[in-house]
C-alpha cells in the first residue's frame, strides 16, 4: 500500500492529536457547561446561568484566595528569577564541586511536589520540627517557633518550599542562556575597561533577556497553579492564610463536592492565567523570542 506523503503525515500525527483534542475540548466544554449548572453527585443537574460565578465572585473566600495567590506569585516569581540568575552565574564559574552541584540540584526538582511538601513539613513543624530543634540547640531561640501555625510564617514556608523545587529548573535554563552569550562581547567590554557590574548590566542581562521572560512566564504559571505543596505542607492553613485559588477549587470540588462552583472557579483561574500570560507576552520586546536560527 502506498500513501501520499501528506496523508502519511496526518496518520502519524493523528494519535497525539486525537488524544489531546478529546481530552482538551471535551473537558473545557464540560467545565463551561458545569459552571452554569448546579452539579453535584447527589442532586440532579439544573441550569442556573451565571449564578455559580456570582456566588464565587461575591464571596469573601474567593477574593481572599485570589489575593493570596497574587501575592504569592508577586513575591515568588521575581525572587525566583533573581535567585535563578545568581545561581546560574555561580554555576558558570569554575570551582571544585561544580559538577556535583549541577547534577545534585536535580533532586529537589525531580521529587514529587507532595514529597517536597512533606519533607519540609518536618523541617518547619511547630512542635518538633528540625528547624526548631536546630535553632534551639544552637541557642538562637528559647522556645519553639510556630512556623506553620502563624499565618505570615506559614506563607513564608510555602514560598521557601516552592523556591526549593523550582530554582533548579530556573537556574539551568538561565545557565543555558548565559553560555550562549558570545564570549567575544565580554572580551571587548573588558578591553573597554568595563567592571564586573558594567559587564553584567550591558552584556549579560540583554543577552539572557528572552530566557528571563520565558522563565518568568513559566514560573508565573507554576505559581498560580501550584497545589501539591500547599496540600502537603499546610492544607491551606492556618485559617485561610495559604489557601490559594487551586487549593480553594479543590476544596469546593472534591471536599464539598460542589462541581458547579468548582468548575466556575476553574474557568476563572484559566481566564486569569490567560490574562497573565498575555500581559507577560506583550512585555516581551518584538523579535526577542523568534531568533533566526544560526
Amino acid at each position: 500500500m502506498t500513501l501520499s506523503p501528506s496523508s502519511a503525515g496526518i496518520l502519524m500525527a493523528a494519535p497525539v492529536l486525537v488524544l489531546v483534542a478529546v481530552f482538551t475540548l471535551y473537558p473545557v466544554g464540560r467545565a463551561l457547561y458545569q459552571s452554569m449548572h448546579i452539579e453535584s453527585p447527589i442532586f440532579p443537574s439544573r441550569f442556573v446561568g451565571l449564578q455559580n460565578y456570582q456566588n464565587v465572585l461575591g464571596g469573601r473566600y474567593f477574593t481572599d484566595a485570589a489575593w493570596t495567590t497574587l501575592r504569592f506569585a508577586a513575591v515568588t516569581v521575581p525572587l525566583l528569577v533573581a535567585l535563578g540568575v545568581l545561581t546560574a552565574l555561580l554555576l558558570n564559574e569554575s570551582f571544585v564541586g561544580n559538577t556535583l552541584l549541577r547534577v545534585g540540584m536535580i533532586l529537589p526538582w525531580a521529587l514529587p511536589a507532595t514529597v517536597a511538601g512533606l519533607i519540609w513539613k518536618w523541617v518547619f513543624l511547630d512542635s518538633w520540627g528540625a528547624l526548631n530543634a536546630g535553632l534551639y540547640t544552637a541557642g538562637f531561640i528559647d522556645n519553639y517557633v510556630a512556623w506553620l501555625t502563624t499565618p505570615r510564617l506559614a506563607q513564608m514556608a510555602v514560598i521557601v518550599v516552592f523556591i526549593w523545587t523550582q530554582l533548579p529548573l530556573t537556574a539551568v535554563f538561565l545557565l543555558a542562556a548565559l553560555q550562549a552569550v558570545p564570549a567575544e562581547l565580554y572580551d571587548a567590554a573588558a578591553v573597554d575597561g568595563a567592571g564586573v557590574f558594567g559587564r553584567f548590566w550591558n552584556i549579560t542581562l540583554p543577552g539572557i533577556r528572552p530566557m528571563l521572560v520565558i522563565v518568568a512566564l513559566y514560573e508565573t504559571l507554576m505559581a498560580i497553579t501550584n497545589f501539591d505543596i500547599v496540600y502537603a505542607l499546610t492544607q491551606g492553613g492556618p485559617g485561610t492564610a495559604t489557601t490559594m485559588l487551586t487549593y480553594f477549587t479543590w476544596v469546593e470540588s472534591f471536599k464539598k463536592l460542589d462541581f458547579g462552583v468548582g468548575s466556575a472557579l476553574a474557568v476563572l483561574i484559566a481566564l486569569g492565567s490567560l490574562v497573565v500570560i498575555l500581559i507577560l507576552v506583550r512585555a516581551i520586546p518584538k523579535g526577542a523570542l523568534v531568533e533566526e536560527r544560526a
Partner: protein
C-alpha cells in the same frame, strides 16, 4: 585567562556552600530522621542523638517486623499503622503507570514529531500550536471533567485511566522536544532515502530514530518522571490501597496520626530512591539539550 581575584573565589565558594546546604540539607534530614527512634525526635529539648540509630523502620516497611519501641509497655506509641507497608506496592503502581506512559510517549510522540518536522500536511501549524497550547490550561480547571469522563468509562481506580491522563499531559511536551530534535537532523539524509523509494515510516524507523535515540530516550524519561510524580489526578482516580500511587500514599501517610515520624521519613527515603536513580540521566539529557541550543533563548 586572567587570574581569579581572591574576593571572587570567596564569593563563589560561599555561594556554592549556601546553595548546597539549601538543596541537600532536607535530604540529609530525611535519612537521619528515618534511623532515629521517634521518642528522641519528638522530645523537647531535642535529644536526637541520645540513643543509637537503627534500621527498624526500613525493616517494618519491607518485612512487617514491628519495631521494638511499639512493643514495650508504656511506650510512646501502641498503635502502628500498616499503611506504610503499602509503600513498596505504591512504588510498583507508580512504576507500572509511568512505564506505560513513557512507552506511549515514545511511540506516538516520535510519530507525531516526525510528521511535524518533515511532512507537509493540511493544518500542520495550526494543529501543532493546538497541541502545545493545550498544556496552558491549568490542570485544576479540567480535573472535574476528567473525573467525570473517567467515571463514565468505568475507569475509576484503574491503571489505564491514569495512563491516559498522564499521556495527554506529557505528549505535547514530548512532541515539541522531538520535533525540534528531528528538525536538527540534516534533511539530505531523508532525501537520499526517499530517492531510494523509502516510505516515511521506514525513514523514521531506520534513520531518524537511530540518529535521535539519546534525545528520544531523554524525552521518554522526562514523561516517566512526570507520571511518577503526579498527585492531583492520582488522588481522586485511585480509591483502594492496591491501586494508589506513591505520591498519593505519601500524602495520605502524612495525615495518618498513627504513622510515626521516623516511619514517615523512612517511607519518603524508600519512595524517593527510584526517582533519584532516574533523575540523573534525565537531567543530563535536559542540560545537554538546552546547552546545545535545541531550545534557543
Amino acid at each position: 585567562m586572567s587570574k581569579r581575584s581572591p574576593l571572587r573565589r570567596v564569593v563563589t565558594y560561599g555561594g556554592a556552600l549556601l546553595l548546597a546546604l539549601f538543596w541537600f540539607a532536607p535530604f540529609v534530614l530525611v535519612v537521619v530522621g528515618s534511623v532515629l527512634p521517634e521518642v528522641n525526635l519528638v522530645s523537647f529539648p531535642p535529644t536526637w542523638f541520645a540513643d543509637p540509630p537503627n534500621l527498624q523502620t526500613y525493616d517494618y516497611i519491607f518485612t512487617g517486623k514491628i519495631p521494638e519501641s511499639f512493643e514495650q509497655r508504656g511506650a510512646l506509641r501502641s498503635m502502628i499503622s500498616n499503611e506504610v507497608r503499602d509503600v513498596p506496592r505504591a512504588i510498583l503502581n507508580s512504576l507500572v503507570v509511568a512505564t506505560a506512559v513513557m512507552v506511549i510517549n515514545l511511540i506516538f510522540g516520535s510519530l507525531a514529531a516526525y510528521a511535524y518536522a518533515r511532512i507537509r500536511f493540511p493544518a500542520r501549524a495550526a494543529s501543532f500550536n493546538f497541541v502545545l497550547m493545550s498544556r496552558l490550561i491549568p490542570t485544576v480547571a479540567i480535573a472535574v471533567p476528567y473525573y467525570l469522563i473517567v467515571q463514565t468509562f468505568g475507569g475509576i481506580n484503574t491503571y489505564w485511566a491514569l495512563i491516559a491522563i498522564y499521556s495527554v499531559l506529557t505528549l505535547p511536551f514530548t512532541t515539541l522536544v522531538l520535533t525540534l530534535y528531528f528538525r536538527g537532523i540534516p534533511e539530505e539524509i531523508d532525501e537520499a532515502a526517499r530517492v531510494e523509494g523509502a516510505s516515511p515510516w521506514r525513514i523514521l524507523r531506520d534513520i531518524t530514530i537511530p540518529l535521535a535515540l539519546p534525545s528520544i530516550i531523554g524525552a521518554g524519561l522526562f514523561a516517566f518522571m512526570l507520571a511518577y510524580s503526579e498527585f492531583l489526578f492520582a488522588l481522586f482516580i485511585t480509591t483502594t490501597r492496591e491501586r494508589r500511587t506513591l505520591p498519593v500514599i505519601l500524602g495520605s501517610l502524612s495525615a495518618n496520626t498513627d504513622v510515626t515520624w521516623n516511619m514517615l521519613m523512612a517511607s519518603i527515603a524508600v519512595g524517593t530512591l527510584p526517582t533519584l536513580l532516574l533523575a540523573i540521566p534525565v537531567w543530563r539529557f535536559m542540560v545537554r539539550g538546552l546547552t546545545s541550543g535545541a531550545v534557543r533563548g
